[in-house]
Structure formats: structure tokens, C-alpha cells
């Protein structure tokens, strides 16, 4: 446990001395102000075209930022020879991976919180801010995206030999999960018998953190009807009071599974040298 904390502390220190983190901080800060400006001009409560666009914008930026920072962090350990040296220390693979995950999570959540803090403070001072529920859901949406994509990022980092490979895989995963997802579903599911559509749709949605979190927030914002009849049961359980807890548990399982798979993969590499 203490080694995990040491790794997390090192990662936090590294993160805050990394120009990337500040680039993203400025980018996300500016981006948050844009969201505030959009909202101020088209103020509507609950789900609307404006909130949908804003969700999409967050969905474009945060997963990409998380995938880059997370995957580069692991590949740099390999490229700098740092992992070779660390592996001669009494340090378990789980402590290493969990420490990195925790440290990176703190850095990314700080960057995001800064953006939201700026948006909230300015919204409060000059007006035109979000209503509390929408603001809270946007924040939860962002945190969950980071939590889940960070697991995926570490997995990419454990697979990649160098930063270039990590960059290529990260962009591919981001493009597939965020931009090309609807096209993939349409093209793939249309090839299959209709009875397979629903179970496969559920399975695929659980596999894609971007889609999973988007559906949850859209339903919670009251926009479940736009998802179509295939998602009727999703709307049903998410809107229940226990929906939030169940969804939280699903996200936790997703994150734990991805971190454990990184551990397994990393340990396999450690044993093989």
C-alpha cells in the first residue's frame, strides 16, 4: 500500500510538471468558458439541443485528453528504462498500476475541476450559468469519462511499445468509441438478424464507456426519448432512484476490470522480460 502511495505521489508531481497537463488545463478552461457562453445564449433547463451539443463537445475532448496522458505515462516508463529499474525494487505489479492510476486520476480530475470551477464561478458572477442539476450531471459525466477512459488508456499504454504506438492506438480507440460509434452500430447490427439486435446493442453499449456514460446523462437530463425504442428499458432503470447506484456500480466494475486487465498484461510482460 505504501509503495502504491509513493507511485501515486510521483505521478501527481510528474503530472503537474508536465507541460501537457497545463496545455490541457488551458484548453479545458477555455472550452468550459465556451460552454458557458453557449448556455448563456440559449438557456433551457434539462435536455435540449444545446445540452446535447455540449455533451458531445465534452465527449470529444475529455476521452482524448485522458487517453493521451494515461497511455503516454505507461509507455514513457518503458522508453525511459524506468520500469526496468522499478522492477528490481520490491514493488508488486498491482501497486505499480494502481499507483499510476490513482496519481493520473488526481491530475486529470484537477484539470477538469479547474475548468468546471471557472465555469461555475463565472456563471455565478456574471449570470447565464447552468442550473444546478445540469451542472452536476455535466461534472459527473466528465468524472465518469475520465475514470473509465483512464483504465482504457493504461491498457493501451501496457500494449504499446513506445509513445508513437500509444498515440496511434489512442486516436483509433477515441475515433471508434466517440466519432464512429453510431456508424459502426448501424452498419454492423443491420447485417444481423433482428432478434440479435437488442442483446448485442446492450453488450456493445456496456463495452463502450463513452456511449454508456452518454446514455446515462442524456436519460438523467430527461432526454431518454431521443434514444429510440431499443433503449426503452435503459430509460426505465436509469430513471429509477436506484438507477444512479446501479450505474455507479457498473462504472466501478468497468474500471476495476480494466485496471486488473492492465495488471495481468503488465505482469505477463514482467514475467517474460
Amino acid at each position: 500500500m505504501s509503495n502504491m502511495i509513493q507511485l501515486a505521489k510521483r505521478e501527481i508531481r510528474l503530472g503537474f510538471r508536465n507541460p501537457w497537463a497545463y496545455s490541457f488545463l488551458i484548453l479545458f478552461g477555455a472550452f468550459s468558458l465556451c460552454l458557458l457562453a453557449i448556455n448563456a445564449q440559449n438557456y433551457l433547463q434539462g435536455y435540449s439541443g444545446v445540452t446535447a451539443s455540449m455533451l458531445s463537445l465534452i465527449l470529444y475532448l475529455l476521452p482524448l485528453m485522458t487517453l493521451f496522458i494515461g497511455s503516454f505515462s505507461l509507455t514513457s516508463e518503458k522508453e525511459d528504462g524506468s520500469w526496468h529499474l522499478l522492477s528490481t525494487y520490491p514493488l508488486g505489479t498491482f501497486a505499480f498500476v494502481a499507483g499510476k492510476y490513482a496519481g493520473l486520476l488526481v491530475v486529470l480530475l484537477t484539470v477538469t475541476s479547474f475548468g468546471y470551477g471557472l465555469m461555475g464561478a463565472l456563471g455565478g458572477v456574471i449570470g447565464g450559468g447552468f442550473d444546478f442539476k445540469t451542472y452536476g450531471l455535466f461534472l459527473i459525466f466528465s468524472i465518469l469519462l475520465i475514470l473509465m477512459f483512464l483504465g482504457a488508456a493504461l491498457f493501451i499504454g501496457s500494449l504499446s511499445k513506445n509513445r508513437w504506438q500509444a498515440l496511434t492506438i489512442s486516436v483509433s480507440v477515441w475515433f471508434f468509441a466517440v466519432i464512429g460509434w453510431q456508424s459502426f452500430l448501424l452498419s454492423f447490427l443491420n447485417l444481423l438478424p433482428y432478434t440479435w439486435t437488442k442483446p448485442l446493442l446492450v453488450t456493445f453499449t456496456f463495452l463502450n464507456p463513452a456511449e454508456l456514460v452518454r446514455i446515462f446523462v442524456v436519460v438523467r437530463l430527461g432526454g431518454g426519448s431521443i434514444l429510440g425504442p431499443e433503449y426503452y428499458r435503459w430509460v426505465d432503470w436509469i430513471q429509477k432512484p436506484s438507477g444512479g447506484l446501479i450505474f455507479g456500480a457498473v462504472c466501478l466494475i468497468w474500471t476495476v476490470c480494466s485496471v486488473l486487465s492492465v495488471c495481468w498484461f503488465w505482469e505477463r510482460g514482467r514475467r517474460r522480460g
Binding site: D80, Y89, P90
Partner: protein, 237 residues
């Protein structure tokens, strides 16, 4: 000091169907200093990496202080300190921050971390960023992390690379001190003068095979210098 600390038996390493190291065996007693000598691609670093537990041997066994890496990984890693050849420090960290991190992982008190920095002559550079360090200073910082916990076995890959003549001499003096503290040392070098001065035993490697091994004294008795001994081992007399 007759206790065997390192026992290597029939160790070979094959990577992508290429034999990197072939059938190496040796033992080393407590307090012994062994130099692995050879040209580029001789297999020195691979042997050290296998000893450090970074690379698993394809065949054979490595036992350090009665512990095998395969069976007890964490206990094995407590037996050694390792100084790699290809390490890049985080340039934004100071020497103090860097050594404190490694010390915390080994559960070594902060006072010892400061003591080790002084031992390698970096006490005045403790608050400087590692990014501004010369190659020699970085080597000394690497050496500092390796000796932090006074490990029973100290492994060093080309430790004198980048060191100026003063620090090369200091390194040899430091090795003697480490040995007197009870550590056993294995280091690789292509500088045979360093091997001759710092080590008690040498092992000549060529294309992954041991082509000669023995006491430095016995080589000196038979040859004018270690260079001659090395050439003779390669059959280039």
C-alpha cells in the same frame, strides 16, 4: 566471508531465436567483486539483467542469497541494488526528490538518502534539477539509488561510463567501501583498466559465451595486462 551469495548454473538466454547468452555458470562469495568484461554485444548487460530479475533466463537457474526470482520475486528484489546503463531520469525532479522516491520504495530513512547523496558527491546539487546534470552526475545519482539500502548484491551495468578520471577513481574507492560493508558486487565494463583495479575476479565474454574467467591476480601473473589476457581468451595472441 565464504558464504556463497550468487549461484548461477547453466544460464542461457535466447531472444527471437537468437542466442544472446550461452550456458553461463559461476558462484560468487560474500564480499567478492566480479567484473564482466567484453566488447559490445558480448552479453554483459543481458547477464546483469537476468541477475537483476528483469529478464528471465531461457534455461538454467540464478540463486541470490538462497532466493530464486521465479519463486519469491519481492524477496529476491530485496537482495539487490541495480544500476542500469540505459536509464533516463525525470528531468523536472531534483536529485533530492529523485533519491527520496527510490528510498521510500526501499523503506530507507531519509537520512540515509542524504548520506548516500553525500557519498557520491552530490550533496551540493541535491536541490538542482536532474535535467541540468552532466552524464557523470547522473551516473553518480544512479549509483546512489543502487547502494541506498546496502544490498547484499550490487549489480552495475557500465558504471564508469561518463565518469571523469577523478570520479572513476572515487568509484573504485566506493566499491571497496561497499565490499567492506558486506555487499557482493558484479559490474560490467569494457574498460579493462577499471576491471583490473576494482575487481577481484573477471569474466571475459564474447558473443554470449564465457571465454575466460579467474582471479585478476592469476591473470596478471600469466599476462602483462588484462588486455593481453582478454586477447588471449579470444584466441588473438
Amino acid at each position: 566471508m565464504d558464504k556463497v551469495v550468487v549461484r548461477v548454473e547453466g544460464v542461457s538466454k535466447t531472444i527471437k531465436k537468437q542466442r544472446i547468452v550461452s550456458d553461463i555458470s559461476f558462484t560468487l562469495n560474500q564480499g567478492g567483486i566480479l567484473a564482466l568484461c567484453g566488447g559490445n554485444g558480448a552479453g554483459k548487460s543481458t547477464v546483469l539483467r537476468m541477475l537483476a530479475g528483469i529478464l528471465p533466463p531461457t534455461s538454467g537457474s540464478i540463486i541470490v542469497n538462497g532466493v530464486s526470482h521465479e519463486q519469491k520475486t519481492l524477496l529476491y528484489s530485496r537482495q539487490l541494488g541495480y544500476m542500469p546503463d540505459d536509464f533516463q531520469f525525470q528531468p523536472g525532479f531534483t536529485a533530492q526528490e529523485t533519491i527520496s522516491f527510490w528510498a521510500a520504495l526501499r523503506k530507507v530513512p531519509k537520512e540515509r538518502a542524504k548520506e548516500v547523496l553525500a557519498l557520491v558527491g552530490l550533496e551540493n546539487a541535491a536541490e538542482k534539477r536532474v535535467g541540468s546534470f552532466s552524464k557523470g552526475m547522473r551516473q553518480r545519482l544512479l549509483l546512489a539509488q543502487a547502494i541506498l539500502a546496502k544490498p547484499p548484491l550490487l549489480l552495475m551495468d557500465e558504471p564508469t561510463n561518463g565518469l571523469d578520471p577523478f570520479w572513476t577513481r572515487e568509484f573504485i574507492r566506493l566499491l571497496d567501501q561497499v565490499r567492506q560493508d558486506g555487499s557482493t558486487v558484479i559490474f560490467s565494463t569494457h574498460q579493462l583498466e577499471v576491471a583490473g583495479e576494482a575487481a577481484e575476479q573477471v569474466m571475459f565474454l564474447n558473443q554470449g559465451r564465457v571465454v575466460g574467467k579467474g582471479d585478476v591476480r592469476s591473470f596478471r601473473d600469466r599476462y602483462p595486462s588484462l588486455h593481453e589476457a582478454f586477447h588471449a581468451s579470444l584466441g588473438l595472441e
